[in-house]
Amino acid sequence: MEQREQAQENIPPGTLQPVLEVRELSFEYSGAGVRAIDSVSFSVPAGAILLVAGPSGCGKSTLLRCLNGLIPHSYKGNLWGEALLLGEDIFKLERAELARRVGTVLQDPSHQLVASTVGADVAFGPENLGLPVPEILGRVDRSLALLHIEALRERDTHALSGGEHQKAAIAGVMALDPQVLLLDEPLANLDPQSAWEALQLFRRLADMGRTVVLVEHRVEDALKIAPEQVMLMDAGRMTYYGDVEGMREAADYHAVKLPAEWVMDKVRAEHAATQEDYQPTPAWRPTGEPVVSYRDVRFSYPSDPGIPAREIVKGVSLDVYAGDRIAVLGPNGSGKSTMLRQMIGLLKPQSGVVTVEGMPTTKRTVAQLAHTVGYVFQNPGHMLFAPKVREELAFGPQNLRRSKGQIDADVEMALRITNLVPQADRPPLALSFGQQKRVALASVLSMRPRVLVMDEPTAGQDYANYTRFMDEIMSLPDIEGVIFITHDLDLAIAYANRVWLVRDGTIVKDGPPEEVLSDLELLRQCGLRPTTLLEVNLALFERTGKFLRAEALAIWDLGVRTADLQSTRTA
């Protein structure tokens, strides 16, 4: 009731009939026992963007399913309340009618492209409506032009990059010319430049009169396009609904990623009460023999006969020492994964040499190298197969022919570190995505590698989950070096003591974050955009002398101020 009044207050005066109006909406998946969304109410006019944010599992996707008809048409359960589209009951609309009026881009757009080429995929929706062919072709042309992707028309859908996937998926939805556009975490797998382009596109679509509902926990990025309304959710309930300014108060910086200044304000306010402390990353001090070295490594994938091979890694030399915490940054397709897969011998250099513990990888098998280097792949779905978590973790050490007693001990250790003891006897495939990510990590940790390589460890996870996860990894005993590929500058600021900036198959810069990330021109060339955290850090750098995460900065700031205060007092 309360929320409803609030909702009505927030309709800007003088606007027309709301396009989307939701009242006291609740849904419980059959057999779940709890409501996935609970008494949600809001109302969005034409031309407005509603940003919905909240931690994983809070019901964001479920809310969208209620608006696009997947609930009640495809998911079983109990539904309460009302959802109106221009005054019409959404739950009573025909599916085809709803498809025409509400367009949805799903959480993982690569699964949304169902035809072999982009043009054919954009035509898919209008074809299903049984429109005449000239009309369909006209719509395809207009959609592709709207997104400026006419050039992709004949491209194979499976060979698109992340950003192109996204645009193609949106084009496919726009071909149905919907009034409402629902976007479920559209930025998840994009590099910063592509994410920025996508956001500008959403703004443009809203300005053309569409109503946009944008689900995204990267609130910091989404705020750049000034959404008219914001809704925060937690455990199915609405915790805030209103404008951006009001959210500054209401948002929890642990749950969603907020601009650095906001976080600092909050931490300052809380700090007096909690006295939490944040361990800064130890500074980079290369010592001893390098564990891994590359000397002028070059690599290209085998190509089709007749087509010249394209070099992906173009003469890379590097050394990894114990104590390194390396963030690898660079645009999509620049060769980051290709470069790091050489480390465990999955790919062998065509010229130059990769040595691990002093031995060239060409002389050793992947299994032998796995004793030293652990490689965690981005998608846990690509490796989980065993009926129990415990067996999954034992798979690696068994392949390495470790002794039974050793394996048991290492599995227990990995379970403990990744907080998976309660799940040890459950099937890994039945766990949530975040837990699966941890199983994937644990199944590499159980092999006790000296160097841990992680390919995009935080992609597709919410902020609270991934900060906890990264904190755990960075504090692991026994791991001498950690290398992680990421598109998130802030992750590099928070966890790395060394950054590799990759562009076009070479490392263009290698050094401590303070040095590499202060070259803004170079960052731009590498498809990276400065975040608010980087800006704050750069502004304060003269005084801090190093880069810190927002929480630590706030505490540092408090410390300085108290010190200032004390010094003025004593003076």
């Binding site: 057999g31 048409h73 079983k76 009302e82």
Partner: protein, 193 residues
């Protein structure tokens, strides 16, 4: 005062022969996987005079049949076999594709008797139907070679027996493994019925 809305979900599994979006997607996935796996294992030769290769991938149409019904099983086998030939460049063999389809179809008849593959009994039933499917489907393919190429009965038997053994082994080993894994993820997907 919340208004309660009646929610229905068309449960396509009530009739094993219904084809909705769900079945269309599983047909496509089954066919793509079977085609891919067949192509990847073309190197694994079955000992014997015929140029047949061992295909652990047959577990795919058999499992898809048991899990998603006879139509999905048929399509996975039939189109999957064509895709396998398409990838390896072996041309196109009509009766063998049809035989693979029949194999998946018969395996899919198990869905008349079992709804979930979550215990040893239902898994055993699905493996039983799978073996029946192999007999019918591979039998059809081998024995229609008599008509297509005028080979004689003995030749057809020499073709059939090794394939029957290899496929049955794949079914016995891989169907239970896939069934257990599928039941584990099933609760996470929309298949909560």
């Amino acid at each position: 005062m919340a208004q309660r809305v009646d929610v229905m979900r068309t449960d396509t599994r009530d009739n094993p022969w219904t084809v909705g979006t769900r079945e269309v997607v599983y047909m496509a996935i089954g066919a793509a996987l079977y085609g891919l796996f067949s192509w990847l294992t073309t190197g694994l030769r079955i000992p014997g005079p015929f140029n047949s290769s061992a295909r652990p991938g047959v577990a795919i149409p058999l499992f898809f049949g048991a899990a998603f019904g006879p139509v999905v099983g048929f399509f996975s086998g039939f189109v999957g076999n064509i895709i396998g030939d398409l990838l390896s460049g072996y041309g196109f063999s009509f009766n063998w594709s049809l035989g693979n389809g029949l194999m998946g179809l018969v395996a899919g008849l198990a869905s008349y008797y079992i709804r979930r593959l979550d215990n040893p009994r239902t898994i055993a039933i699905s493996v039983g139907f799978a073996i029946l499917g192999i007999i019918v489907g591979m039998g059809f393919a081998s024995f229609t070679d008599i008509w297509f190429y005028n080979i004689d009965l003995n030749a057809a038997w020499t073709e059939f027996v090794p394939i029957f053994i290899a496929n049955s082994l794949s079914a016995i080993v891989l169907i239970p493994i896939l069934a257990i894994a599928w039941e584990a993820v099933r609760t996470r997907t929309g298949q909560t019925a």
